[in-house]
Amino acid sequence: MTAMTHVRPLPRMEGTFRFSTTETIKHAVLILGAVIVLIPFYVMVSYSMKSPSEIMTNTGGLFGAQELFRDDFCVKLGNAAEDCMVRPLIYNYTTAFEKAPLLLYLLNGVIVTLSIFAIQIVVALPCAYALAKLRWWGREAVFALVLFCLLIPVHAIALPLYIMLSKVGLTNTYAALIIPWTISVFGIFLMRQFFMTVPDDLIDAARMDGMSEYSIIWNVMLPTAIPALLAFGIFSVVAHWNDYFWPRIVITGNRDLFTPPLGLREFKGDADGDNFGPMMATATIIVTPLIVAFLLAQRRFIEGITLTGMK
């Protein structure tokens, strides 16, 4: 039996030829799927490197010919035509940063996602600890509240949240981008489940040593929870870096507070024919950080994103 356990679940012993046929068909199907999945990524990266004319005529292959072309906007500014010749790749990416304050948008994205994650941890961790490891009156009721709140998607109550924030004058601030996400009921639930598995002896020993409950959370529980926290962090950062709905609602005019998706949306709003290249460059820049991080640490990312499945 032990020899069997490492065998794949569907081993068919009907000769190598037949085996490789089914295998080939499977690969063919999966490759077709992969091509369809990759089409928009191909379009995005490829067009971010092409000149307007190559985009309009759909030529130039993946990288474009990278021939110099005339930047009409530069000519309009009164420069000589010879000085306005640009390489498509360089033109697209520099325009992406020059036409809109893309760096600022990226910075906003970083500030917002990291603040959200930090506050979620500060709020959720002590609560999860108290729910898992302390005995007190009302604990079951609070846990029931957590379970009930798991039912509520924050996007669905965006409208009343928006009204509340505008009543206290907080729309168009960083606070508006962060506040609704400060409480992660899911984070509490997840951490509580995790802490339940931590042996009581560990905590008792810490108490014997005279540690306060407060320092037990941050010095004993937090280190044991690093893997779970990492997974939760990936889950949280991906969700909020990519979020478009909530920023769209609370950031109405102030461009200084735009997150990356809002910046891209604004770009699209006033894109004319010549600006498809820079727009695709912007899209590439916004999508790349998470994709690269994902490719580097795939298993952790998949774990984090599918955390909700572990309930």
């Binding site: 679940p9 089409i39 990524f41 995005m44 002590p126 302390l134 509240l145 509520i152 478009y244």
Partner: protein
């Protein structure tokens, strides 16, 4: 066992935030849904059930429900089906399974808004890569397909602006984006099925792959499927990014893509009709909460029987 009251400080912030950020808004939405409130007005009139009556009688909202349920009805079965199919194929591969897993998961990671803008571009009627690729198939055997031959004669569809195609195209992008997520959940489910069950099934006479699937794989994936279906429903109910990116005004050709989240956004944020927006919010919450409760009930029932 008398302890400090440390727990109060530990749970108080969380309880406070849960109440203020999650529960109070539901109350506010519930109350506002019976008024004609709008931001900036000093007061609001109590209008009773008028908002709900409108939602269930006006054709605009009929279109909203049709668009939402069409979207959910297309995206959920396809993301679940393709997710399961991809997971089964990948799981049975001897080599290269990780590459497919990585590729299929990419859309889950990418900002949907950015990818929607790219898709819009790829689906552009004249310079888009999709129609120009399809046009290359003209004159080949594909013309045996009536639809293809007709498209070659005239033009290939305006995927996003033709009201016969718009909702399906948006749903396609939803499937494109979502099935990798389900695939990963199913892969986790598949690896947790004990091998012995397959041997046992084989001894019981389950010779074909289909028999084994029916007898072992599918029942064992039950809990995964319940979860995958629920989360796919909730996610597709909340579709917004693609719709707003393609149709910033009005919800698509003849409002055929006027999904609920977009309706809330349009009514409440763009038009400042908070009352009607709140009513849609309440109906929306009703759907989503019912789904999750149904899921929990299904899971718990299984647990009791097992």
């Amino acid at each position: 066992m008398v302890r400090s009251h440390a727990h109060i400080w530990f749970v108080a912030p969380a309880i406070f935030l849960m109440i203020v950020i999650l529960l109070v808004p539901i109350g506010i939405a519930a109350v506002l849904s019976f008024t004609d409130y709008s931001l900036g007005n000093p007061g609001a009139e109590w209008v009773g059930l008028q908002n709900y009556e409108r939602i269930f009688t006006r054709s605009t909202y009929e279109k909203m429900f049709i668009a939402t349920f069409t979207y959910v009805g297309v995206v959920v079965p396809l993301t679940v089906g393709l997710g399961l199919g991809a997971a089964l194929l990948i799981h049975s591969l001897n080599r290269f399974s990780d590459i497919y897993k990585t590729i299929y998961f990419l859309p889950v990671m990418a900002a949907l808004l950015a990818m929607a803008i790219v898709w819009e571009f790829a689906l552009h009627p004249t310079i888009g890569i999709v129609n120009s690729t399809l046009a290359q198939g003209c004159g080949t055997f594909l013309e045996n397909w009536n639809w293809y031959a007709r498209s070659c004669e005239r033009t290939f569809p305006l995927w996003l602006t033709d009201k016969d195609y718009a909702i399906w195209t948006v749903a396609f992008i939803g499937v494109w984006q979502g099935f990798g997520f389900n695939m990963v959940l199913y892969l986790a489910g598949l690896t947790s099925i004990p091998r012995e069950l397959y041997h046992a099934a084989e001894m019981d006479g389950a010779r074909s792959a289909w028999d084994r699937f029916k007898l072992v794989t599918w029942p064992m994936l039950g809990p995964t499927t319940v979860f995958v279906v629920t989360i796919s429903c909730i996610r597709s109910f909340q579709v917004f990014d693609t719709v707003e990116a393609f149709y910033p005004q009005g919800g698509g050709p003849s409002k055929s893509v006027y999904v609920m989240m977009f309706a809330i956004y349009e009514k409440a944020i763009q038009q400042n009709l908070m009352g009607i927006g709140a009513a849609i919010t309440i109906i929306f919450l009703g759907f989503v909460m019912m789904l999750t409760l149904l899921q929990r009930w299904l899971v718990e029932r299984r647990v009791h029987y097992a």
